[in-house]
Symmetry: C2
Subunit: 333 residues, 2 copies
């Protein structure tokens, strides 16, 4: 924990979370505390429109801040060219080759701009200021519509050769399952074990459970939360889906242990709000599939920063530097 220097404003940075439906900019200080957030919905996903919204919320955050702003960190969906800060592709936005980093740099020439994948930013946030603190090997997985992930190895956020390390959601665990992933492959961890995966398991099993309470739920409302709640109240169909889901989640988590052998795996995202109902089932399943290190030496816990993790991590990258694609201020470049 660092202290503000005497006689000067405490250091901080702007952390931006570029979500599918809204943009949020937060003023984050050196200990990961948020001092105000500025949020605006995205109506139009064209790059120009999104950049305009981003600029508005970032400007508001900078103006509101009493901190000495070290830079602007942005967490964006998609794969980023580490050399240029161009978003190569972002399926969520339907973007291809959008020079987001350059545009933000032009708009804020006084500031250093850091750009990283949103899930990697969240991993950095949880590692530095959340449940990963004190570990050297750490993995975050957010179980939402998809599965976002990130890896810290030897105390350093893994980015890989082309900013693609930690794309754990897109490793295949059941290439014959028939569950087609958003990325085009079949049986990715994300296709099997995201919130969407839970819905797919329930729909696949539906024909066997003609008296399921889930049949009363309109199909467009059949979300992972409804299934989880029905499982918790003992509905056989929902329980069968939950069981199939947890098996696939356990395969992926054990695969994480085989690759990374982290001290802690943190689970975030909507499905993780099942809390102990999930963890109590998952832990023994993962231990069964842990074969090369002593069982139980990787702790599986819930993430603690929730939706703030991405903005906190992006701001942390801007403050500490060097962990994501770094775009120098225009004045210097």
């Amino acid at each position: 924990m660092q202290q503000a220097r005497k006689g000067s404003a405490m250091r901080g940075a702007i952390g931006v979370d570029l979500g599918g439906s809204h943009v949020m900019a937060a003023v984050v200080d050196e200990v990961g505390e948020i001092h105000g957030t500025f949020e605006q919905d995205i109506e139009d996903h064209t790059p120009a429109s999104v950049v305009e919204i981003l600029a508005t919320v970032v400007r508001s955050a900078i103006e509101s801040s009493k901190h000495e702003i070290a830079g602007i960190g942005i967490g964006s969906p998609g794969n980023i060219d580490p050399g240029t800060g161009t978003i190569r592709y972002s399926p969520n936005f339907g973007w291809e080759n959008v020079p987001l980093g350059q545009r933000v740099r032009e708009l804020f020439p006084k500031y250093t701009v850091f750009l990283g994948n949103d899930a990697r930013c969240a991993t950095l946030g949880e590692y530095v200021h959340g449940v990963g603190q004190g570990t050297k090997d750490f993995v975050l997985l957010t179980l939402g519509t998809g599965i976002g992930g990130g890896i810290v190895s030897n105390g350093i956020l893994a980015l890989g050769h082309q900013m693609g390390a930690g794309e754990i959601g897109h490793h295949q665990i059941r290439p014959d399952s028939g569950f087609v992933c958003g990325c085009g492959k079949v049986g990715c961890f994300e296709a099997q074990a995201s919130g969407t995966g839970l819905i797919r398991h329930a729909m696949r099993l539906a024909p066997s459970f003609p008296r399921s309470v889930l049949l009363d739920v309109p199909r467009e409302k059949l979300g992972s939360k409804a299934i989880r709640k029905a499982a918790q109240t003992g509905d056989q169909h929902a329980l069968a889906a939950w069981t199939a889901y947890c098996d696939d989640l356990a395969i992926g988590l054990a695969n994480v242990i085989a690759f990374v052998n982290p001290e802690v795996i943190a689970l975030g995202g909507g499905v993780s709000s099942a809390g102990d109902f999930m963890l109590d089932r998952i832990k023994p399943l993962v231990e069964l599939r842990t074969t090369m290190v002593p069982r139980g030496t990787t702790r599986i816990v819930r993430a603690t920063l929730g939706n703030d993790a991405g903005a906190v991590g992006a701001a942390t990258a801007a403050m500490r530097g060097g962990l994501l694609a770094r775009l120098p201020p225009t004045a210097v470049a």
Copy 2:
């Protein structure tokens, strides 16, 4: 590349490769060159007998060496307790809780002893002195009886919380395949895509190919090499097995890209001696399954150090320090 200091012997270290059937000790210099190897077969796999053989070959290597020996590095199969240097379990040897590190330290009190998993040592060897040179993110996979692996992330060998990082062979890619892995799980990458995996694919497909040339090969001689050779000469059965094998290998390699996004994946071990017959088939299959980074940005190549990689890497760890479980000399401890 470092130069020998003037007026003093060039620095070197002893690198030990503890194989299933023999122990090899090599004198390795700072640029990874081997200056003499000493080898002895293992007849009896009891810890006492293996330690005795190890001590004999290490002593011979030290006596023969004209180098200033910086330490002894040992690459051993199995999982190692990072705190004590005890081999927790090694399925190859049938060992459990063998204090190998301590025993070697007692026998060679003048030297610092480094102990690491054999596949991780080989990864370090290829990274520092072989085909991984110049990269920051690198993976080695040896396709032999099993699949040994190792990961270098951000220029640092990944060890994980309990020396289990890089156990890539034991991530599950086909949990329903029925191919039981040596570790007890079904459908591990190793069960599907090691040399043994190739034999299994051939045996599973045998009933469909009553005129296969492989049927003339006595079952105990049906090795991966025979299958590969038959595939290269166009036997339909062998080709079908090779195709199924390469599909599974491609799944695992694409999973490596999803987790690690390395610049280079090096393939070693017996199956990799298929060379271009393998690489030409594998590369497009891996590209098809690479969805989150630009295709083709991970180079897939053959490893270059061959069977020396483990000893070179173990010696490198002893010379550079800090990459594996480090056991101080008894005099100091």
